[in-house]
Protein backbone atom coordinates (compact mmCIF):
# COMPACT_ATOMS: atom_id res chain seq x y z
CA UNK A 1 0.00 0.00 0.00
CA UNK A 2 1.18 3.51 -0.83
CA UNK A 3 1.61 6.06 1.93
CA UNK A 4 -0.71 9.09 1.76
CA UNK A 5 1.89 11.27 3.52
CA UNK A 6 5.68 10.93 3.66
CA UNK A 7 7.59 13.42 5.77
CA UNK A 8 11.34 13.58 5.13
CA UNK A 9 13.75 15.64 7.20
CA UNK A 10 11.15 18.09 8.48
CA UNK A 11 12.45 20.83 10.77
CA UNK A 12 10.79 23.86 12.28
CA UNK A 13 12.40 26.68 14.15
CA UNK A 14 11.09 30.11 15.05
CA UNK A 15 13.11 33.20 14.43
CA UNK A 16 12.06 35.80 16.98
CA UNK A 17 13.33 39.12 15.62
CA UNK A 18 12.54 41.21 18.67
CA UNK A 19 14.56 39.01 21.04
CA UNK A 20 17.14 38.08 18.41
CA UNK A 21 16.58 34.40 19.12
CA UNK A 22 16.26 31.26 17.06
CA UNK A 23 14.04 28.76 18.86
CA UNK A 24 14.18 25.16 17.60
CA UNK A 25 10.89 23.25 17.73
CA UNK A 26 11.35 19.99 15.86
CA UNK A 27 14.15 18.68 13.68
CA UNK A 28 14.96 15.77 11.41
CA UNK A 29 11.45 14.30 11.49
CA UNK A 30 10.81 11.30 9.27
CA UNK A 31 7.45 9.54 9.17
CA UNK A 32 4.79 8.02 6.98
CA UNK A 33 1.01 7.82 7.21
CA UNK A 34 -1.10 5.23 5.38
CA UNK A 35 -4.82 5.04 4.48
CA UNK A 36 -6.81 3.24 7.19
CA UNK A 37 -3.92 3.37 9.65
CA UNK A 38 -2.94 5.62 12.50
CA UNK A 39 0.58 6.93 13.02
CA UNK A 40 1.16 8.19 16.58
CA UNK A 41 3.74 10.83 17.47
CA UNK A 42 5.27 10.29 20.89
CA UNK A 43 8.00 12.04 22.84
CA UNK A 44 8.49 14.37 25.79
CA UNK A 45 6.99 17.85 26.04
CA UNK A 46 8.99 20.21 23.86
CA UNK A 47 9.83 17.56 21.29
CA UNK A 48 7.75 19.48 18.74
CA UNK A 49 4.92 17.00 18.24
CA UNK A 50 2.25 19.68 17.75
CA UNK A 51 4.61 21.63 15.49
CA UNK A 52 4.77 18.64 13.12
CA UNK A 53 0.97 18.63 12.81
CA UNK A 54 0.87 22.41 12.33
CA UNK A 55 3.53 22.18 9.61
CA UNK A 56 1.48 19.53 7.77
CA UNK A 57 -1.57 21.82 7.94
CA UNK A 58 0.75 24.75 7.07
CA UNK A 59 -0.34 26.84 10.05
CA UNK A 60 3.43 26.83 10.53
CA UNK A 61 5.82 27.34 7.63
CA UNK A 62 8.31 24.46 7.70
CA UNK A 63 11.97 25.54 7.97
CA UNK A 64 13.35 22.49 6.14
CA UNK A 65 12.29 19.16 4.71
CA UNK A 66 9.64 17.71 2.46
CA UNK A 67 6.06 16.61 3.16
CA UNK A 68 4.93 14.56 0.18
CA UNK A 69 1.15 14.17 0.11
CA UNK A 70 -0.76 11.98 -2.36
CA UNK A 71 -4.09 13.63 -3.17
CA UNK A 72 -7.44 12.02 -4.12
CA UNK A 73 -6.46 12.05 -7.81
CA UNK A 74 -3.19 10.27 -7.05
CA UNK A 75 -1.01 13.34 -7.67
CA UNK A 76 1.92 13.90 -5.37
CA UNK A 77 2.35 17.35 -3.86
CA UNK A 78 4.92 18.72 -1.42
CA UNK A 79 2.85 20.44 1.25
CA UNK A 80 5.90 22.50 2.25
CA UNK A 81 5.89 24.14 -1.21
CA UNK A 82 2.19 24.05 -2.16
CA UNK A 83 0.49 27.33 -3.04
CA UNK A 84 -1.93 28.96 -0.63
CA UNK A 85 -4.93 28.21 -2.84
CA UNK A 86 -3.91 24.58 -3.25
CA UNK A 87 -3.68 24.27 0.53
CA UNK A 88 -7.05 25.92 1.07
CA UNK A 89 -8.60 23.44 -1.37
CA UNK A 90 -6.94 20.51 0.42
CA UNK A 91 -8.13 21.81 3.80
CA UNK A 92 -11.66 22.03 2.45
CA UNK A 93 -11.76 18.61 0.80
CA UNK A 94 -9.03 16.30 2.09
CA UNK A 95 -7.05 17.30 5.18
CA UNK A 96 -8.70 17.83 8.57
CA UNK A 97 -7.21 19.03 11.85
CA UNK A 98 -8.67 18.64 15.32
CA UNK A 99 -6.62 20.58 17.87
CA UNK A 100 -6.98 20.72 21.64
CA UNK A 101 -8.83 24.00 21.33
CA UNK A 102 -12.04 24.75 19.50
CA UNK A 103 -11.67 27.56 16.98
CA UNK A 104 -15.03 28.40 15.49
CA UNK A 105 -17.12 31.30 14.33
CA UNK A 106 -18.66 33.06 17.32
CA UNK A 107 -22.43 33.30 17.78
CA UNK A 108 -23.16 30.10 15.81
CA UNK A 109 -24.91 27.13 17.40
CA UNK A 110 -22.99 23.87 17.98
CA UNK A 111 -24.78 21.99 15.18
CA UNK A 112 -24.00 24.83 12.80
CA UNK A 113 -20.31 24.72 13.81
CA UNK A 114 -20.15 20.95 13.24
CA UNK A 115 -21.94 21.19 9.87
CA UNK A 116 -19.66 24.01 8.64
CA UNK A 117 -17.19 21.86 6.62
CA UNK A 118 -20.07 20.10 4.87
CA UNK A 119 -21.76 23.41 4.06
CA UNK A 120 -18.52 24.76 2.64
CA UNK A 121 -18.36 21.75 0.31
CA UNK A 122 -21.82 22.70 -0.92
CA UNK A 123 -23.91 20.08 0.90
CA UNK A 124 -27.59 20.99 1.38
CA UNK A 125 -28.17 22.84 4.63
CA UNK A 126 -30.95 20.71 6.13
CA UNK A 127 -29.11 17.45 5.43
CA UNK A 128 -25.80 18.77 6.78
CA UNK A 129 -27.43 19.99 10.01
CA UNK A 130 -29.19 16.64 10.42
CA UNK A 131 -25.88 14.78 10.15
CA UNK A 132 -24.24 17.27 12.52
CA UNK A 133 -26.90 16.66 15.18
CA UNK A 134 -26.47 12.91 14.72
CA UNK A 135 -22.70 13.20 15.29
CA UNK A 136 -23.18 15.41 18.37
CA UNK A 137 -25.56 12.77 19.71
CA UNK A 138 -23.00 10.01 19.11
CA UNK A 139 -20.47 11.99 21.15
CA UNK A 140 -22.95 12.43 24.01
CA UNK A 141 -23.62 16.16 23.61
CA UNK A 142 -27.12 16.65 25.05
CA UNK A 143 -29.79 17.88 22.66
CA UNK A 144 -30.47 21.07 24.65
CA UNK A 145 -26.98 22.31 23.62
CA UNK A 146 -27.24 21.70 19.89
CA UNK A 147 -28.41 25.21 19.06
CA UNK A 148 -26.28 26.97 21.68
CA UNK A 149 -22.96 28.61 20.67
CA UNK A 150 -20.10 26.53 22.16
CA UNK A 151 -18.43 29.60 23.72
CA UNK A 152 -20.13 28.85 27.05
CA UNK A 153 -19.51 25.06 26.95
CA UNK A 154 -17.20 23.21 29.35
CA UNK A 155 -13.74 22.15 28.14
CA UNK A 156 -14.89 18.58 27.49
CA UNK A 157 -17.99 19.69 25.61
CA UNK A 158 -16.00 22.07 23.43
CA UNK A 159 -13.55 19.31 22.63
CA UNK A 160 -16.37 16.99 21.60
CA UNK A 161 -17.86 19.67 19.33
CA UNK A 162 -14.41 20.03 17.81
CA UNK A 163 -14.13 16.25 17.31
CA UNK A 164 -17.67 15.99 15.92
CA UNK A 165 -16.76 18.59 13.28
CA UNK A 166 -13.50 16.82 12.40
CA UNK A 167 -15.09 13.37 12.24
CA UNK A 168 -18.14 14.46 10.26
CA UNK A 169 -15.98 16.14 7.61
CA UNK A 170 -14.41 12.70 7.00
CA UNK A 171 -11.16 13.92 5.44
CA UNK A 172 -8.67 11.60 3.72
CA UNK A 173 -6.00 12.63 6.22
CA UNK A 174 -6.97 13.59 9.76
CA UNK A 175 -4.53 15.30 12.13
CA UNK A 176 -5.40 14.83 15.81
CA UNK A 177 -3.73 16.75 18.64
CA UNK A 178 -4.65 15.15 22.00
CA UNK A 179 -8.27 14.53 21.03
CA UNK A 180 -9.25 13.07 24.42
CA UNK A 181 -7.21 15.33 26.71
CA UNK A 182 -10.15 16.79 28.65
CA UNK A 183 -12.70 13.97 28.36
CA UNK A 184 -13.98 11.61 31.05
CA UNK A 185 -13.41 7.84 30.53
CA UNK A 186 -16.89 7.20 29.12
CA UNK A 187 -16.77 9.88 26.44
CA UNK A 188 -13.13 9.00 25.67
CA UNK A 189 -14.41 5.52 24.85
CA UNK A 190 -16.95 7.04 22.42
CA UNK A 191 -14.18 8.96 20.70
CA UNK A 192 -11.99 5.87 20.47
CA UNK A 193 -14.88 4.00 18.80
CA UNK A 194 -15.21 6.77 16.22
CA UNK A 195 -11.48 6.71 15.51
CA UNK A 196 -11.66 2.95 14.96
CA UNK A 197 -14.61 3.40 12.60
CA UNK A 198 -12.71 6.05 10.63
CA UNK A 199 -9.76 3.66 10.30
CA UNK A 200 -12.04 0.97 8.91
CA UNK A 201 -13.36 3.54 6.43
CA UNK A 202 -9.81 4.13 5.19
CA UNK A 203 -9.08 7.50 6.79
CA UNK A 204 -5.35 8.05 7.38
CA UNK A 205 -4.49 9.60 10.75
CA UNK A 206 -1.51 11.31 12.32
CA UNK A 207 -2.13 11.73 16.03
CA UNK A 208 -0.74 12.86 19.37
CA UNK A 209 -2.23 11.22 22.48
CA UNK A 210 -1.60 12.33 26.03
CA UNK A 211 -2.03 8.81 27.35
CA UNK A 212 0.27 5.87 26.43
CA UNK A 213 -2.67 3.42 26.70
CA UNK A 214 -4.33 5.14 23.74
CA UNK A 215 -1.17 4.81 21.66
CA UNK A 216 -1.11 1.09 22.45
CA UNK A 217 -4.78 0.71 21.52
CA UNK A 218 -5.03 2.84 18.42
CA UNK A 219 -1.63 3.26 16.79
CA UNK A 220 -0.46 1.09 13.91
CA UNK A 221 2.87 2.94 13.76
CA UNK A 222 4.68 4.86 16.45
CA UNK A 223 7.19 7.62 15.72
CA UNK A 224 9.30 8.88 18.59
CA UNK A 225 10.48 12.49 18.54
CA UNK A 226 13.41 13.73 20.60
CA UNK A 227 13.72 17.39 21.61
CA UNK A 228 15.83 19.15 18.97
CA UNK A 229 19.43 20.03 19.74
CA UNK A 230 19.78 23.67 20.73
CA UNK A 231 20.75 25.80 17.78
CA UNK A 232 23.88 27.95 17.99
CA UNK A 233 21.85 31.08 18.79
CA UNK A 234 20.12 29.57 21.79
CA UNK A 235 23.39 28.01 22.88
CA UNK A 236 24.94 31.48 22.95
CA UNK A 237 21.97 32.67 24.98
CA UNK A 238 22.40 29.89 27.50
CA UNK A 239 26.15 30.27 27.94
CA UNK A 240 26.11 34.06 28.00
Amino acid sequence: MQAILSIEGLAKHFQLHEQGKLIPSCANVHLQVWPGRLTALVGPTGAGKSSVLKCVYRTYLPSAGRMRYRDAEGHEIDLAQASEHRLLALRQDEIGFVTQFLHCLPRKGAAEVVAEPLLRRGEARAAALERARDMLDRLDIPERLWNVPPATFSGGEKQRVNLARGFLARPRLLLLDEPTASLDPKTSERVIERIETLKQDGVAMLAIFHHPDLVARLADHVVELAPPMPLTETLKELTA
Binding site: Y60, H85, L87, R107
Partner: protein, 276 residues
Protein backbone atom coordinates in the same frame (compact mmCIF):
# COMPACT_ATOMS: atom_id res chain seq x y z
CA UNK B 1 -11.65 28.15 -8.08
CA UNK B 2 -11.23 30.95 -10.57
CA UNK B 3 -9.24 34.11 -10.27
CA UNK B 4 -11.29 37.30 -10.17
CA UNK B 5 -8.57 39.91 -9.64
CA UNK B 6 -4.85 40.09 -10.29
CA UNK B 7 -2.82 43.08 -9.12
CA UNK B 8 0.77 43.59 -10.26
CA UNK B 9 3.33 46.09 -9.01
CA UNK B 10 0.82 48.72 -8.04
CA UNK B 11 2.36 52.01 -6.93
CA UNK B 12 1.07 55.37 -5.73
CA UNK B 13 3.28 58.39 -5.14
CA UNK B 14 2.03 61.70 -3.77
CA UNK B 15 4.52 64.29 -5.01
CA UNK B 16 6.75 64.85 -8.00
CA UNK B 17 9.04 61.89 -7.25
CA UNK B 18 12.78 61.54 -7.76
CA UNK B 19 15.07 58.65 -8.73
CA UNK B 20 15.84 57.99 -5.04
CA UNK B 21 12.25 57.82 -3.74
CA UNK B 22 11.98 54.04 -3.75
CA UNK B 23 15.35 53.11 -2.28
CA UNK B 24 15.09 55.81 0.40
CA UNK B 25 11.67 54.72 1.71
CA UNK B 26 9.98 51.55 2.95
CA UNK B 27 10.18 49.44 6.13
CA UNK B 28 14.01 49.29 6.08
CA UNK B 29 14.21 53.08 6.12
CA UNK B 30 11.37 53.41 8.61
CA UNK B 31 9.54 56.02 6.53
CA UNK B 32 7.31 56.48 3.52
CA UNK B 33 8.44 60.05 2.90
CA UNK B 34 11.37 60.46 0.52
CA UNK B 35 14.07 62.49 2.36
CA UNK B 36 15.38 63.87 -0.96
CA UNK B 37 12.20 65.31 -2.52
CA UNK B 38 9.48 64.96 0.12
CA UNK B 39 7.32 62.65 -2.00
CA UNK B 40 5.05 60.29 -0.05
CA UNK B 41 5.33 56.72 -1.31
CA UNK B 42 1.83 55.48 -0.38
CA UNK B 43 2.30 52.17 -2.19
CA UNK B 44 5.05 50.51 -4.16
CA UNK B 45 5.40 47.09 -5.83
CA UNK B 46 2.14 45.74 -4.46
CA UNK B 47 1.07 42.46 -6.08
CA UNK B 48 -1.60 39.95 -5.06
CA UNK B 49 -4.46 37.94 -6.46
CA UNK B 50 -8.01 37.19 -5.36
CA UNK B 51 -10.24 34.24 -6.22
CA UNK B 52 -14.02 34.07 -6.63
CA UNK B 53 -15.84 34.07 -3.31
CA UNK B 54 -12.63 34.54 -1.32
CA UNK B 55 -12.03 37.11 1.43
CA UNK B 56 -8.54 38.61 1.44
CA UNK B 57 -7.39 40.74 4.36
CA UNK B 58 -5.06 43.73 4.06
CA UNK B 59 -3.61 44.58 7.45
CA UNK B 60 -1.27 47.27 8.67
CA UNK B 61 -1.23 50.43 10.75
CA UNK B 62 -2.53 53.77 9.51
CA UNK B 63 -0.28 55.20 6.81
CA UNK B 64 0.75 51.75 5.61
CA UNK B 65 -1.01 52.27 2.27
CA UNK B 66 -3.75 49.69 2.76
CA UNK B 67 -6.66 52.06 2.09
CA UNK B 68 -4.86 53.63 -0.87
CA UNK B 69 -4.86 50.20 -2.45
CA UNK B 70 -8.62 49.67 -2.42
CA UNK B 71 -9.26 53.28 -3.40
CA UNK B 72 -7.11 52.77 -6.50
CA UNK B 73 -8.94 49.54 -7.36
CA UNK B 74 -12.33 51.27 -6.93
CA UNK B 75 -11.07 54.15 -9.16
CA UNK B 76 -11.27 56.73 -6.36
CA UNK B 77 -7.56 57.37 -6.96
CA UNK B 78 -5.28 56.77 -9.92
CA UNK B 79 -2.14 54.64 -9.59
CA UNK B 80 1.34 55.98 -10.41
CA UNK B 81 2.32 52.61 -11.87
CA UNK B 82 1.19 49.03 -12.03
CA UNK B 83 -1.58 46.91 -13.47
CA UNK B 84 -4.76 45.24 -12.29
CA UNK B 85 -6.85 42.75 -14.23
CA UNK B 86 -10.47 42.00 -13.33
CA UNK B 87 -11.83 38.71 -14.65
CA UNK B 88 -15.54 38.83 -15.33
CA UNK B 89 -18.05 36.55 -17.04
CA UNK B 90 -17.56 38.52 -20.25
CA UNK B 91 -13.75 38.36 -20.25
CA UNK B 92 -10.98 40.31 -18.61
CA UNK B 93 -10.57 44.02 -18.05
CA UNK B 94 -7.25 45.81 -17.72
CA UNK B 95 -8.54 48.23 -15.08
CA UNK B 96 -6.19 51.18 -15.60
CA UNK B 97 -6.26 51.00 -19.40
CA UNK B 98 -10.04 51.55 -19.48
CA UNK B 99 -11.50 54.97 -20.26
CA UNK B 100 -13.49 56.90 -17.66
CA UNK B 101 -16.87 55.66 -18.91
CA UNK B 102 -15.78 52.03 -18.82
CA UNK B 103 -14.38 52.50 -15.31
CA UNK B 104 -17.64 54.07 -14.17
CA UNK B 105 -19.58 51.17 -15.64
CA UNK B 106 -17.51 48.62 -13.68
CA UNK B 107 -17.79 50.68 -10.51
CA UNK B 108 -21.57 50.93 -10.82
CA UNK B 109 -22.27 47.39 -11.94
CA UNK B 110 -19.53 45.00 -10.84
CA UNK B 111 -17.79 46.53 -7.81
CA UNK B 112 -19.08 47.57 -4.42
CA UNK B 113 -17.41 49.73 -1.76
CA UNK B 114 -18.10 50.24 1.92
CA UNK B 115 -16.10 53.11 3.44
CA UNK B 116 -15.11 53.62 7.05
CA UNK B 117 -16.74 57.05 6.86
CA UNK B 118 -20.42 56.74 5.84
CA UNK B 119 -20.28 60.29 4.43
CA UNK B 120 -18.14 58.97 1.58
CA UNK B 121 -20.48 56.12 0.71
CA UNK B 122 -23.90 57.63 1.33
CA UNK B 123 -25.76 60.69 0.12
CA UNK B 124 -27.16 62.26 3.29
CA UNK B 125 -29.51 64.53 1.33
CA UNK B 126 -31.72 61.64 0.28
CA UNK B 127 -33.41 58.82 2.21
CA UNK B 128 -31.87 55.40 2.94
CA UNK B 129 -34.09 53.91 0.25
CA UNK B 130 -33.12 56.76 -2.07
CA UNK B 131 -29.44 55.90 -1.65
CA UNK B 132 -30.10 52.40 -2.90
CA UNK B 133 -32.31 53.74 -5.69
CA UNK B 134 -29.43 55.98 -6.84
CA UNK B 135 -27.18 52.98 -7.28
CA UNK B 136 -29.87 50.94 -9.03
CA UNK B 137 -30.57 53.85 -11.41
CA UNK B 138 -26.85 54.06 -12.25
CA UNK B 139 -26.93 50.39 -13.12
CA UNK B 140 -29.89 50.85 -15.48
CA UNK B 141 -32.80 49.68 -13.32
CA UNK B 142 -35.42 52.38 -13.96
CA UNK B 143 -38.81 50.96 -12.99
CA UNK B 144 -40.06 52.74 -9.83
CA UNK B 145 -41.88 49.76 -8.32
CA UNK B 146 -38.93 47.46 -8.96
CA UNK B 147 -36.45 49.90 -7.39
CA UNK B 148 -38.70 50.36 -4.36
CA UNK B 149 -39.14 46.64 -3.77
CA UNK B 150 -35.46 45.87 -4.31
CA UNK B 151 -34.47 48.62 -1.85
CA UNK B 152 -36.91 47.25 0.72
CA UNK B 153 -35.53 43.73 0.24
CA UNK B 154 -31.91 44.91 0.64
CA UNK B 155 -32.61 46.95 3.75
CA UNK B 156 -34.50 44.02 5.28
CA UNK B 157 -31.53 41.75 4.49
CA UNK B 158 -29.12 44.12 6.22
CA UNK B 159 -31.53 44.50 9.16
CA UNK B 160 -32.41 48.15 8.66
CA UNK B 161 -35.95 48.74 9.93
CA UNK B 162 -38.30 49.01 6.97
CA UNK B 163 -40.28 51.88 8.46
CA UNK B 164 -37.12 54.02 8.41
CA UNK B 165 -36.52 53.48 4.71
CA UNK B 166 -37.73 56.99 3.87
CA UNK B 167 -35.62 58.75 6.48
CA UNK B 168 -32.25 60.30 5.78
CA UNK B 169 -29.35 58.15 6.98
CA UNK B 170 -27.96 61.20 8.80
CA UNK B 171 -30.48 60.42 11.55
CA UNK B 172 -29.24 56.81 11.83
CA UNK B 173 -26.73 55.37 14.31
CA UNK B 174 -23.21 54.59 13.07
CA UNK B 175 -23.93 50.86 12.88
CA UNK B 176 -27.11 51.43 10.91
CA UNK B 177 -25.34 53.80 8.51
CA UNK B 178 -22.87 51.02 7.79
CA UNK B 179 -25.76 48.63 7.14
CA UNK B 180 -27.26 51.07 4.62
CA UNK B 181 -23.83 51.36 2.97
CA UNK B 182 -23.62 47.57 2.73
CA UNK B 183 -27.15 47.38 1.31
CA UNK B 184 -26.24 50.05 -1.25
CA UNK B 185 -23.00 48.30 -2.22
CA UNK B 186 -24.86 45.00 -2.67
CA UNK B 187 -27.69 46.50 -4.73
CA UNK B 188 -26.20 45.35 -8.04
CA UNK B 189 -25.05 41.97 -6.63
CA UNK B 190 -21.40 42.76 -7.42
CA UNK B 191 -18.93 39.84 -7.56
CA UNK B 192 -16.25 42.04 -5.93
CA UNK B 193 -16.67 44.10 -2.77
CA UNK B 194 -14.16 46.41 -1.05
CA UNK B 195 -14.52 46.98 2.69
CA UNK B 196 -12.36 49.75 4.15
CA UNK B 197 -12.23 49.66 7.98
CA UNK B 198 -16.01 49.19 8.06
CA UNK B 199 -16.29 48.38 11.77
CA UNK B 200 -13.66 50.79 13.10
CA UNK B 201 -15.10 53.09 15.74
CA UNK B 202 -18.34 51.15 16.28
CA UNK B 203 -19.46 49.58 19.58
CA UNK B 204 -18.29 45.98 20.00
CA UNK B 205 -21.80 44.50 19.84
CA UNK B 206 -22.56 46.52 16.70
CA UNK B 207 -19.22 45.43 15.18
CA UNK B 208 -20.08 41.78 15.81
CA UNK B 209 -23.40 42.03 14.00
CA UNK B 210 -21.87 43.82 11.01
CA UNK B 211 -19.13 41.17 10.76
CA UNK B 212 -21.71 38.36 11.00
CA UNK B 213 -23.69 40.06 8.24
CA UNK B 214 -20.61 40.28 6.01
CA UNK B 215 -19.88 36.57 6.48
CA UNK B 216 -23.48 35.61 5.77
CA UNK B 217 -23.46 37.66 2.59
CA UNK B 218 -20.22 36.04 1.49
CA UNK B 219 -21.72 32.60 2.05
CA UNK B 220 -25.05 33.42 0.35
CA UNK B 221 -23.74 35.30 -2.67
CA UNK B 222 -20.12 34.03 -2.94
CA UNK B 223 -18.95 37.63 -3.15
CA UNK B 224 -15.17 38.05 -3.31
CA UNK B 225 -14.03 40.69 -0.84
CA UNK B 226 -10.97 42.72 0.07
CA UNK B 227 -11.13 43.68 3.72
CA UNK B 228 -8.85 46.51 4.87
CA UNK B 229 -8.39 46.68 8.62
CA UNK B 230 -5.89 47.24 11.40
CA UNK B 231 -7.96 44.95 13.66
CA UNK B 232 -6.49 41.43 13.92
CA UNK B 233 -9.82 40.15 15.28
CA UNK B 234 -11.52 41.16 12.03
CA UNK B 235 -8.72 39.53 10.03
CA UNK B 236 -9.06 36.30 12.03
CA UNK B 237 -12.84 36.22 11.76
CA UNK B 238 -13.36 37.13 8.11
CA UNK B 239 -10.34 36.22 6.03
CA UNK B 240 -8.58 33.06 4.83
CA UNK B 241 -5.56 34.84 3.31
CA UNK B 242 -3.96 38.11 4.27
CA UNK B 243 -1.23 40.52 3.30
CA UNK B 244 0.61 42.76 5.74
CA UNK B 245 1.66 46.26 4.68
CA UNK B 246 4.08 48.75 6.14
CA UNK B 247 5.21 52.05 4.62
CA UNK B 248 3.52 51.24 1.34
CA UNK B 249 5.15 47.83 0.87
CA UNK B 250 3.82 44.30 1.26
CA UNK B 251 6.09 42.78 3.90
CA UNK B 252 4.32 39.48 4.35
CA UNK B 253 1.58 37.44 2.66
CA UNK B 254 0.12 34.05 3.49
CA UNK B 255 -2.70 31.97 4.94
CA UNK B 256 -4.36 33.94 7.74
CA UNK B 257 -3.81 31.29 10.44
CA UNK B 258 -0.14 31.07 9.44
CA UNK B 259 0.36 34.84 9.60
CA UNK B 260 -1.24 34.98 13.05
CA UNK B 261 0.51 31.90 14.51
CA UNK B 262 3.83 31.90 12.70
CA UNK B 263 4.48 35.46 11.50
CA UNK B 264 7.80 35.77 9.67
CA UNK B 265 8.54 39.48 9.49
CA UNK B 266 9.72 41.38 12.58
CA UNK B 267 6.91 43.92 12.20
CA UNK B 268 4.18 41.25 11.91
CA UNK B 269 5.60 39.50 14.97
CA UNK B 270 5.34 42.72 16.95
CA UNK B 271 1.81 43.37 15.62
CA UNK B 272 0.57 39.89 16.56
CA UNK B 273 2.36 39.92 19.92
CA UNK B 274 0.80 43.23 20.91
CA UNK B 275 -2.70 42.01 20.07
CA UNK B 276 -2.68 38.74 22.01
Amino acid sequence: MKKILEVQNLAKLHGKGCPLCIEATGPDNDTNVCPHCGTVVAAHGVSFDLYEGEILGIMGESGSGKSTLVKILYFDETPSAGEARFFDAGGQHDLFALNAAQQRWLRNHRFGMVYQNPHLGLNFNVSAGGNIAERLLMSDVAHYGEIRSRARELLARTEVLENRMDESPKRFSGGMQQRVQIAKALATRPPLLFLDEVTTGLDLSVQARILDLILEIQQELSTAMIVVTHDLGVIRLLTVRAIVMKYGRVIEAGLTDQILEDPQHAYTQRLVASAL
